[in-house]
Amino acid sequence: MVQANAAVIPEPELRALEPVLFRFALRATRDRELSRDLTQDALLAAIAQASTFAGRSAFRTWVVGILSHKILDHFRRTATRALDGDDQEDLLATPSAADVERVVAARQELAAVDRALMRLPERERLALLLVDVEGLERDDACRALDVTATHLRVLMHRARNRLRGLLEHGQ
């Protein structure tokens, strides 16, 4: 058991989360060393803040939310240029039947999905990782990203359509 304040988190539960958090951080940052650091930071923060875990969401969801904040802090510190070209016409473009089949086939070739994911702007990528990969409810994802419901809606719309475009063209 790992004890923090009055709360106790079972150690096996923390250990089980480590690879989950590492995968999430790696997909978000593309940097193994940084992902290891962020994973440890998130686990330590979870232990330190254990007494604030209200149980409204799953423990995994809660810790992934903490990790998201760490990742966002990193993005802010490094202040990378956002690739936010928002060409609605491109985002809403019509795929051919062959394009659609490529997307459906991507389910079998996850490396292609990972590669496409890496090409998204950071916040859009993080939104997809939280909602579509981790399966967070939008309310939880808003808290994890520090955004309003409307902002998340826009992020999801752009991110899904941008990713769709990348998968359709086999990039």
């Binding site: 995968r23 790696l26 997909r27 593309r30 940097d31 060393e33 940084l34 510190r77 490094t78 990378t80 609605q88 809403l92 019509t94 795929p95 051919s96 039947a97 394009d99 659609v100 997307v103 459906v104 991507a106 389910r107 996850l110 490396a111 999905v113 990972d114 590669r115 994911l117 890496m118 997809l128 909602v131 579509d132 990969v133 981790e134 399966g135 939008r138 809606r153 999801m156 719309h157 899904r160 359509n161 990713l163 769709r164 998968l167 359709e168």
Partner: protein, 74 residues
């Protein structure tokens, strides 16, 4: 040919996929449009496939190309 009905429908797809509350009339128009527009059905199917592929990543290790997108730390 993408018309204004297509554009309207395609802007709703992401929310509809998540079962989000979309204004009733907007949702109705988008669903009705889907039944008559094969191009928008392709967009919708592609989005469903995209979401399905993302869900499959949940327990899979990331497959990254060496140094893909690596940024030096500050």
């Amino acid at each position: 040919m993408v018309n204004r009905f297509c554009s309207h429908a395609r802007r709703q797809f992401s929310d509809l996929l998540d079962g989000q509350a979309v204004p009733r009339w907007s949702a109705f128009v988008a669903r009705l449009h889907l039944t008559i527009c094969p191009q928008c059905r392709r967009v919708h199917r592609s989005l469903v496939g995209t979401q399905d592929a993302l869900r499959a990543l949940r327990d899979a290790d990331p497959e990254l190309e060496p140094h893909s997108g690596h940024r030096p730390r500050e």
